[in-house]
C-alpha cells in the first residue's frame, strides 16, 4: 500500500493510499454526491481536467459493467474515495476499478476523509488539486504553477463525424465531449444518429438533412469555445428541433443572448429537486455543473425558463419561444442518476415527428 496525497490549492493536504495508476496529476477538485454510478461518472468526458471526490463511501463494489461506460477514453485526472473494492465479478463480465484506472492512467486514492474534503470544498469554493507522492513545498509550488488547459472540448470531442445508424429520425449530435447516455436514449428511440465534431458549421449540419440536432454535454466553460459555435446554433435552431444538454445548454443560452456565470462550488449530484415551471412539479436528475445560466440575463421575449434548481436557484432548462429548441443543464439520460426526466428525449422525438409530418413547412 503506497501512501499518496491529495493536495489542495489552499495548502491543505489529505493522506491516503494509492490505487489505480501512480501518475502525478493536477485538476480541479469536484465532489460528486451521486450514490450509484461511479462507472458512469469516471468515464464521463466532462471530468476532463478534474479530480473527482466521491461522497458515497464504498466505490468499486460492482466492478465496471460492459454496458455502462459513458465514453471510450475517460480523461478524469483522479478519483478520491473513502473505501474502494477491487472486485471484478458477476454477470456483467466486469473488470475491476483498479484495472480500469491503471489502463487509463488515472490515479486513485482511498482511505481518505472524503466527508471532510466535501465540507471543505463547500466552504472554500472551487480549487485546483494534485495527486502526489510527497506533500512537500515543491509539490505545492508545482500545483500553483500548473495552468489547466481551456481547450478541453477540442481534446475530448471526436475530430471526425461517425454514424450510428438506425431506422428512425435523422439526428445530428454535435459532440462537445459527448456522454454515451445521450446516444443510448436516442438509440432506444430508433434514431439514425450521426455524431459530428464540435466545430461543425451549420451548413455541414443542415446538409446532412437532419430531423433534429442535439448539442451534447462536455467539459469546461462555454466561453472557451469560439463564436462560430454560437452562430451555428443560431442558424440551426431556426431550421430543425434542437436539444441542448449540459454544455450544450450553456451554449444554447449564449447563442440566444444570455450570460453564463461560474458557480462558487461546482454541483455534482442528483439530490437537488428540479422544478418544471410549467407543471410546478419537482423531479431529480444527475447534475454535473460548474457553470450556470445567469437568470437575470435572459431575454424573456426570446427564451422561456423551463426548469430551475430549487436549492441553488440556478436555471436548469430553457426553451426558445419561437422554435422547438430547448435545453437542460442536467442529464436526463440517467447515466448516472434518476431517470425521472428521460421523457425529454420523447419530447424531442415528438418535435422531430411533427417536423417530418409537416415536411418542415412550419420552419
Amino acid at each position: 500500500m503506497t501512501q499518496r496525497y491529495l493536495i489542495l490549492e489552499d495548502g491543505s493536504a489529505y493522506p491516503g493510499k494509492a490505487f489505480g495508476s501512480l501518475a502525478t496529476t493536477t485538476g480541479e477538485l469536484v465532489a460528486n454526491s451521486t450514490m450509484n454510478g461511479y462507472q458512469e461518472i469516471i468515464s464521463n468526458q466532462i471530468y476532463h481536467n478534474q479530480i473527482i471526490v466521491f461522497t458515497q463511501t464504498s466505490i468499486g463494489n460492482t466492478g465496471l459493467a460492459q454496458n455502462a461506460y459513458e465514453s471510450v477514453l475517460p480523461t478524469a485526472k483522479g478519483v478520491i474515495v473513502r473505501e474502494y473494492e477491487n472486485l471484478a465479478t458477476d454477470h456483467f463480465k466486469r473488470i475491476s476499478l483498479d484495472r480500469y484506472l491503471k489502463q487509463h492512467r488515472i490515479p486513485g486514492i482511498y482511505d481518505v476523509d472524503t466527508r471532510q474534503i466535501r465540507r471543505h470544498l463547500q466552504e472554500k469554493g472551487n480549487m485546483k488539486a494534485s495527486i502526489v507522492d510527497v506533500a512537500d513545498e515543491h509539490a505545492f509550488d508545482q500545483l500553483h504553477a500548473t495552468v489547466l488547459t481551456n481547450q478541453q472540448v477540442a481534446q475530448v470531442a471526436t475530430p471526425k463525424p461517425y454514424p450510428n445508424p438506425d431506422e428512425g429520425a435523422n439526428v445530428i449530435v454535435v459532440d462537445f465531449g459527448l456522454k454515451s447516455g445521450i446516444l443510448r436514449e436516442l438509440s432506444k428511440r430508433d434514431c439514425n444518429v450521426t455524431v459530428v465534431p464540435w466545430d461543425s458549421t451549420s451548413e455541414t449540419i443542415l446538409d446532412l438533412d437532419p430531423d433534429g440536432v442535439v448539442l451534447s454535454t462536455g467539459p469546461g466553460a462555454p466561453w472557451n469555445l469560439p463564436e462560430s459555435v454560437l452562430s451555428m446554433i443560431q442558424k440551426v435552431q431556426t431550421q430543425v428541433p434542437l436539444f441542448g444538454i449540459g454544455l450544450g445548454h450553456e451554449l444554447f443560452a449564449l447563442a440566444n443572448g444570455a450570460k453564463i456565470t461560474e458557480l462558487r462550488v461546482e454541483h455534482h449530484g442528483s439530490n437537488h429537486p428540479i422544478r418544471e415551471i410549467i407543471t410546478n412539479e419537482i423531479f431529480f436528475s444527475g447534475q454535473e455543473q460548474g457553470y450556470a445560466v445567469d437568470s437575470k440575463s435572459i431575454n424573456h421575449a426570446k427564451l422561456f425558463i423551463t426548469h430551475v434548481d430549487l436549492v441553488n436557484g440556478t436555471v436548469q432548462g430553457l426553451r426558445h419561444r419561437d422554435f422547438p429548441a430547448f435545453s437542460v443543464q442536467f442529464s436526463p439520460d440517467g447515466a448516472p442518476g434518476p431517470k425521472d426526466s428521460v421523457g425529454l428525449f420523447d419530447d424531442f422525438s415528438e418535435f422531430m415527428a411533427r417536423r417530418r409530418d409537416s415536411n418542415g413547412e412550419n420552419y
Partner: protein
C-alpha cells in the same frame, strides 16, 4: 383487456408540448382562448390553461363546448331543444379571438367539424386551431390537428380510451383491443 400506451407522465408531457407549441405558433398568448370539447377535452383545456398561467402568468379563458347537437352522425330527435345549448359554458366572446379547440381524441373528424360549426355560431374568431391529446387516424373528413400530443396509429377495431384524473381516478390513455 386494455393496455396503457400513455401513462400519467407521458400524458403530462404531451400537454406540456402542446402548450409550448401553442405559444410558439401564435407568437405569444394575445387574444388566445381555449375551448374544450366535452367531456375530457374540457379538462385538458383547463390543464393547458393552467400551464399557460404557470408559464406566462396570464389567465386564458376556457370555454366548454357540448357538440352533441351538431353531430351529423347522431340522431337528434331524442334531444329536446332546451338541452341543446344548455351545457355550453362559454362566457366570453370569440369575436376576433384566436380560438384553440381542445379534444382528447381525433378520430373521424366529425366531432371537430361539429365543434367548428358550434364556434362559428358564436361569432367570428380570428382563427381556430385544433389541439388533441391523441390522433388515432381514420379521418372521414378533411380535418387535421395543429397540435398533437401523440400520434397513435390504431386499427378501427381497437378502441382508444382517455382517462383524466379529474373524473376517472387516473391519468392514462389505453388501447383496448
Amino acid at each position: 383487456m386494455g393496455k396503457i400506451i400513455l401513462d400519467k407522465m407521458a400524458m403530462q408531457r404531451a400537454l406540456t408540448r402542446i402548450t409550448y407549441e401553442i405559444v410558439e405558433k401564435n407568437k405569444g398568448v394575445e387574444d388566445l382562448v381555449l375551448i374544450g370539447i366535452k367531456t375530457r377535452g374540457i379538462f385538458l383545456a383547463n390543464r393547458i390553461a393552467d400551464r399557460l398561467q404557470q408559464l406566462e402568468n396570464v389567465t386564458i379563458p376556457v370555454g366548454e363546448l357540448d357538440i352533441t347537437n351538431y353531430r351529423d352522425d347522431i340522431e337528434h330527435d331524442s334531444v329536446s331543444d332546451d338541452v341543446k345549448m344548455s351545457s355550453n359554458k362559454i362566457d366570453f366572446s370569440v369575436e376576433g379571438k384566436r380560438v384553440i379547440l381542445v379534444d382528447d381524441v381525433l378520430y373521424t373528424g366529425r366531432t371537430v367539424r361539429a365543434a367548428l360549426s358550434a364556434v362559428m355560431d358564436l361569432g367570428r374568431p380570428k382563427s381556430i386551431n385544433l389541439a388533441v391529446l391523441v390522433d388515432r387516424g381514420h379521418r372521414e373528413l378533411p380535418i387535421r390537428a395543429d397540435f398533437v400530443g401523440k400520434n397513435i396509429p390504431s386499427s378501427q377495431k381497437e378502441k382508444i380510451k382517455v382517462y383524466v384524473s379529474e373524473i376517472d381516478d387516473k391519468d392514462a390513455v389505453e388501447l383496448i383491443k
